[in-house]
Symmetry: C2
Subunit: 203 residues, 2 copies
DNA sequence: TTGACCAGACCGACCGGTCTGCCTACTTTC
DNA sequence: GAAAGTAGGCAGACCGGTCGGTCTGGTCAA
């Protein structure tokens, strides 16, 4: 695997260049619409090199989704470390998604898109998606301060639906799609306390 | 176009057999995963016949989505004709989606899936999707009894997000995904009045 | 005779994936 | 310190298969 650790000066390894190019292309055009030829072209890498690091395109796709899931997780953990808790952390998760939707070449949530492109899941792609989903659901659950676990679980699922729904709407409306659901977040997540988390304004 | 109208006895025209087979296959496996060869095979039709009716696969896809949108529209209109209004009609729309998610070979909402598969929209596919979306949004709006148009629009978008979110969740959880959002519908759509619309229980 | 349909060969393009061959840079050994 | 070996990456030819799409030729009913 050569889990090479680079300093900032070093050029990124071939594996990372491949994953970077694949991530950019997959996110913008979809997984099925991008062939390995285009990935190696934009990564500046030989075909054999790609297949040395990823046994098949499906492995590359899985690695792409896993990295994306890890990044999201780390972003949220960073916010938590910054002191955000409960309702404010939940709001921040929505704000992160809204920020992503505001990007120039935004083409929808990579997890929802990948799920739609892998209805027949021959590889382990949908497992990665299920894991990411469960992880976020649990985080919502932990952020809620309702006593009844059943009620907490239901509220977490409502928040998840709201997030996914806003992401779907953002395909056509961009980040503005998150405005409509905004008031509902407070309602579900608990006392709104002080207003904005500031995260959304960061970009 | 030969907009032939058959009685019940007549065998369906070639065009309809094509559209039926394509709809079944596209809905179950996704648009890109199904080739024209498979469509004509399951439709029992010659390749030339398909291309006589649909100039390209993209036209076939558009026809498939348009027909699906029309069917949804007609289902809702039938419920309206049956006397459902306001909040109860909104609930019925959710129940229709939940029923679809309960089907055996359900593989997600065809509109969301098609949107995810056509991030780069070369054909007019995304136009069909946008139309369907706008149409449903307007119907929600008409069903709400809030006075302020702005507030009504926002509530309609919240309902839409809830519906899309439940559809996304139903990819993994099936029709059960709609249970969680259920109480929120009443909250948004207005006075719950008498409980179930009965639609959901129909199947 | 005409027109709608059938079966299936055929086309060029592209797909994921393999393989050969060359080059470079580091490491081992004398 | 030079020679030899080795590992990783490069370019691109090549493979079988599938894609969307076209074309030929034949069947059948109106």
């Amino acid at each position: 695997m050569t889990a090479h650790v680079h300093t900032a000066q070093e050029a990124p390894s071939a594996r990372e260049r491949i994953l970077d190019a694949a991530s950019r292309l997959f996110a913008e055009h979809g997984v099925r619409a991008v062939g390995v030829a285009r990935v190696i072209s934009e990564a500046g890498v030989a075909k054999a090199t790609l297949y040395a690091h990823f046994p098949s395109k499906d492995d590359l796709v899985r690695a792409y989704l896993e990295r994306q899931a890890e990044r999201s997780e780390r972003e949220i953990e960073a916010l938590e470390r910054a002191g955000l808790r409960g309702a404010r952390l939940i709001r921040a998760v929505f704000d992160l998604a809204a920020n992503a939707a505001a990007q120039d070449r935004y083409a929808g949530c990579c997890f929802i898109a990948a799920a739609a492109e892998h209805l027949d899941d021959s590889g382990g792609v949908s497992q990665v998606l299920a894991d990411q989903r469960r992880s976020l659901l649990q985080r919502f659950d932990r952020c809620l301060d309702e006593d009844d676990p059943r009620s907490r679980d239901r509220t977490a699922r409502q928040l998840m639906a709201l997030l996914d729904g806003a992401k779907v709407a953002s395909l056509e409306e961009g980040a503005a799609a998150f405005d409509a659901v905004d008031p509902l977040i407070d309602l579900l997540a608990g006392p709104s306390e002080t207003g904005s988390t500031g995260v959304r304004a960061q970009l």
